[in-house]
Symmetry: none
Subunit: 401 residues, 2 copies
């Protein structure tokens, strides 16, 4: 991959418009000999692919199954091994919290501690979500600030919550404040570098105060914090690639990831048709659109092969509407594979197609994993996709004399 410095130096502003359509987890594995994409009837994508160039992308590396953070960063043109998004940050993005550079976020569990300080149940008997909300509200009221640092508590499902600490001088890395298994003593967070001392004090003081506030809330009488992390400093796409980028996504996590790289996150509805409307209405205002389709991934995670096929077919029906907008560059791909067979993200590379006026069409005529593997782009690291999109939009000057 080309360094950010070089890309920044050679990228220029032009009128051309780029669409990055991410069909989340679209890559799959065969069931009765055919992957979800191979089973689906997708005449519009097949037609587009026959006028495109194709390949297979690896988000992080051969054999590596990526989380949504690294796999999206790679597609957005950022080295996923350089910018690490902590679990706390991702969890906060996932429930729609807007994080600032001053924020430190942690995944929290309500838990049960006995009188000797032993954690006897790391999940507090999986308290009902309703109870969770109640306790979070209580905590939020009782603990607003610690040593000048603001504290926000946001409920998740059952025993899960997110804690956000907002203030100056909070730095990681910190170890988890979690014994990881039942029957061990509660464990404070530990600063893993001298820069993290203040964060250590704030986090541990929060845990102590929370345990006092929750004393009478047994089984949820203490908290565990994991993945305590800050938002990484990521140069925005506008600065690095000279783009005015916009994101259209229905799920908070993807909206949050887009915000992290400086995209404008557009208001939209819950369905694909809502996303399409948002795209049409904002077409004139931006030169790069990230359009995210979630349900392919969800049905893959559910192991629902048939549903994933149906959603792929639904996406296909919207392709003509997308083409009508007259983008200069269109990429259709995925962030990672989510085979229904595995019910999870996987390490399999992603089908990738790029259409523009400046390509040598490579003869692939079906948008499937196996067909794309025969395309002229070959197998490549997903992080290169951004330079390809920019080049095809004539947005990169010559490198070197």
């Amino acid at each position: 991959m080309i360094s950010e410095d070089i890309i920044k130096e050679i990228s220029i502003k032009t009128d051309s418009k780029i669409l990055l359509l991410v069909i989340d987890g679209v890559g799959g594995l065969p069931l009765d000999g055919k992957t979800e994409l191979e089973r689906a009837e997708i005449p519009n994508l097949d037609n587009l692919v026959s006028r495109s160039i194709c390949g297979l992308t690896d988000p992080v590396g051969y054999g590596i199954t990526p989380g949504s953070g690294p796999s999206h960063l790679a597609l957005f043109g950022y080295d996923p091994l350089k910018y690490i998004i902590g679990r706390g940050v991702l969890e906060a993005l996932g429930i729609g919290v807007e994080l600032t550079p001053k924020d430190m976020a942690a995944r929290g569990n309500f838990a049960t501690m006995d009188s000797r300080g032993i954690i006897v149940d790391r999940r507090a008997g999986r308290i009902p979500t309703e109870k969770n909300r109640e306790i979070c509200a209580l905590l939020g009221k009782e603990i607003e600030k610690i040593k000048g640092v603001k504290v926000f508590i946001r409920p998740g499902k059952e025993h899960r919550f997110v804690a956000i600490f907002r203030g100056d001088g909070l730095n990681g890395p910190l170890s988890d404040a979690d014994p990881q298994k039942n029957g061990e003593k509660a464990r404070p967070a530990r600063a893993l570098s001298s820069r993290a001392k203040k964060a250590e004090e704030v986090v541990n003081s929060f845990i102590k105060k929370a345990s006092e506030v929750l004393k009478s809330q047994h089984p949820a009488n203490t908290v565990l914090l994991r993945g305590i992390s800050k938002v990484p400093r990521i140069p925005p796409m506008g600065e690095l690639f000279n783009l005015s980028p916009a994101a259209i996504a229905t799920y908070p996590m993807y909206r949050g990831l887009a915000r992290l790289v400086g995209m404008e996150v557009l208001q939209t509805g819950d369905g694909i048709q809502d996303e399409l409307r948002t795209l049409r209405e904002n077409f004139a205002k931006f030169d790069f659109f990230y359009l995210h389709i979630k349900q392919t991934d969800s049905s893959g995670e559910d192991g629902d092969y048939e549903k994933k096929v149906k959603i792929i077919e639904e996406v296909d029906r919207y392709i003509p509407e997308i083409l009508d907008l007259k983008f200069d560059v269109i990429v259709v791909t995925s962030d990672h594979s989510t085979p229904a067979l595995l019910k999870s993200h996987s390490w399999h590379p992603n089908p990738f197609m790029l259409w523009s006026r400046f390509i040598r069409v490579d003869g692939v005529n079906r948008f499937t994993e196996r067909d794309c593997s025969k395309g002229s782009l070959g197998r490549f690291a997903a992080v290169n996709a951004m330079a390809l999109m920019l080049a095809n939009g004539l947005k990169l000057r010559k490198f070197g004399a």
Copy 2:
């Protein structure tokens, strides 16, 4: 790519002979469905390719359009992101100046400055080339040395010239001595590191003296200098690859690039037949030949699809003559693509074929971009071509125990 240290350690001298035939900018884009290569009738290249292995190369990276410097360095086996050739150096090579390691070179403009020191015309009304030569001669006569540093001025076209500063202790990086637009104050070069202080003094003192000498030459009454740069220190091919390399090229820039990596640059004429004669006459004396065909690139830059096709066909007619020489390894490829459609270098990968006695012929039987994309070499970084050529010439020992 394999590090230079490793290649140096395992490369050995053998009698085998390698030809690297660079058909500059040969890769194109379709016009009425066919690229320049696909349109051309090239029975000899097609025959050779059917006995070769093929692939597509990226000079610098996916989506990156390279200048001639980085794209050639990659083909010569040097990391194009490690060895940066400045604009001044390339310009000097382009007009045939032989640079030494003590030289700093700059692209110059004659310009018009008003009495308040404002640059009112960065191109001095595009003075005639004849006038340019006259002023360069005058400058050369009046300014021979500055602080012990020799100064050479070489005219280009219209308002353009090249300045060379030759002496000890000249180091970059320096900022441009150019306000970049009309109506702004003349701007001295600035040392961008403490090592560049002496160069800063010399360059700015030259600009001052030149303005005095040119006082009465309105509109060419001052000079602007850009891309002030030194020749990068590049280990010669003889040392790194144990080769005795020779270059046959008609254009000064490519002759200069070859000299930078330690090739012997052979005298030759203007046409392809002259280059072939030079190749034949020197065949016994070297074990590596870089043979450069320029006109494919020029016609691509001119947007002249038909002419580019004709030149490809002309090159094809010389292939039997080349085969008669009985090279052990033959590579036919390009440094970068120059599609007539874009009238410029482009980011598209290069068709690449390699013939030797030690290959697994891969079934490609036309030398085109699309056919090569199906070859067994796949899509790869051009910098790897050198190790492939050496290996096929049995010039690389085993790596590791």
